[in-house]
Amino acid sequence: DVKVTQSSRYLVKRTGEKVFLECVQDMDHENMFWYRQDPGLGLRLIYFSYDVKMKEKGDIPEGYSVSREKKERFSLILESASTNQTSMYLCASPTSGRPSSYNEQFFGPGTRLTVL
């Protein structure tokens, strides 16, 4: 099975700080995703990447950016953290193969970010 790891389980930051959330997958997969999970709202897609240096906006990209310099690593960046970005952040990577829409997504354990 794919293993997806995230750099921190819990993170506390102050308003205005620049925040980096790191995600690593160990199976050389092309696609990687960042979601945020909020009570009552489910999971919402922030950004995804289908290859190194390639990225696409998801449904709620405002206030976020991403970086994919290596295939196994996908970083989510909060340029200037705000309190409304307090949330659980989940990274996911699906298995490979075509069509890709058939593939199961493997999720990391999540990073619970609190912005004070």
């Binding site: 489910g42 999971l43 998801g58 989940l90 997504q105």
Partner: protein, 115 residues
């Protein structure tokens, strides 16, 4: 845009009770359907999925789901729940045969099973 509705936000059941969680989606074309589960303190994991063929699909831990195309539904069922089924359940949909697996998730249903 595709949307997914899970009408039950919180469900409380006693052990051995039967479970049905509703999921409706909005897209009228070919879809791929998933149920994911998140146990307390654990990461999201796949429970079952439907792509084509038999509309009744079976997943792990005795769960099953039925795809009813005419009703745009993919309800999750289990005949007899256990305390260990306490978790949050998410229905997810994506359009079939797309280049990327962009899932749209429902808002989730929190299930509490009392012993």
């Amino acid at each position: 845009a595709q949307s997914v509705s899970q009408h039950n936000h919180h469900v409380i059941l006693s052990e051995a009770a039967s479970l049905e969680l509703g999921c409706n989606y909005s897209y009228g074309g070919t879809v791929n359907l998933f149920w994911y589960v998140q146990y307390p303190g654990q990461h999201l994991q796949l429970l079952l999925k439907y792509f084509s063929g038999d509309p009744l699909v079976k997943g792990i831990k005795g769960f099953e789901a039925e795809f009813i195309k005419s009703k745009f539904s993919f309800n999750l069922r289990k005949p007899s729940v256990q305390w260990s089924d306490t978790a949050e359940y998410f229905c997810a949909v994506n359009e079939g045969n797309t280049g990327f697996q962009k899932l749209v998730f429902g808002t989730g249903t929190r299930l509490l099973v009392s012993p």
